[in-house]
């Protein structure tokens, strides 16, 4: 069998992501994807909370280890 034939994608389901022109649409700024926006703001809040918690832990650790409390 020729080598080229081995690279033929003859499977019915293409494993490569492709945009079907029947369902694709231009990104519409007036209709935001609220899930994505919510996740972005949510992870922002989580990161700030983690940062403040880590800072608080660090300050406490520093004070206890140097006997300042």
């Amino acid at each position: 069998m020729p080598v080229g034939r081995l690279f033929l994608k003859t499977s019915a389901v293409s494993k490569m992501f492709s945009r079907n022109s029947f369902i694709a649409s231009k990104p519409d700024p007036s209709k935001p994807n609220m899930l994505r926006v919510g996740l972005a703001f949510g992870s922002t809040a989580v990161l700030w909370a983690l940062l403040f918690k880590q800072h608080r832990t660090d300050v406490h650790e520093y004070k206890t280890r140097n006997g300042l409390e």
């Binding site: 700024p29 703001f41 700030w48 983690l50 880590q54 800072h55 660090d58």
Partner: protein
């Protein structure tokens, strides 16, 4: 502290607002604005959630980077001081000279 050993906790932690955090936060914000510009959207008014997320990620990375930097400098200082303590002959105390002894004599040419 994933990449810092336990002894690093003796050091004073950096403030929430520190140089690396501000810089990385601004870089993240600039990245989000660049993303907007390259997709032909208004740079500041579009994708505020993206700007906030990128700025926060930068700030977070900057804080931990500052902690790591403080620890590295502290270990260098400790090693340097220990070396100076073990080899005092290489670091003699010099008497401070006054300026009168150092400065060359002044010959005015008027």
């Amino acid at each position: 502290m994933g990449l810092l050993p336990d002894e690093a906790k003796v050091l004073p932690p950096p403030g929430i607002v520190n140089r690396n955090s501000v810089w990385f936060g601004l870089c993240g914000w600039a990245t989000a604005m660049l993303h907007n510009s390259l997709n032909r959207r208004p740079a500041l008014k579009a994708g505020v959630h993206r700007q906030a997320l990128f700025t926060t990620v930068g700030w977070f990375i900057g804080y931990h980077l500052t902690k790591y930097e403080n620890y590295k400098y502290a270990t260098l200082d400790r090693d340097m001081n220990e070396y100076m303590r073990l080899h005092p002959e290489q670091f003699p105390e010099k008497e401070p000279k006054t300026f009168a002894e150092i400065v060359e004599p002044f010959h005015p040419i008027r």
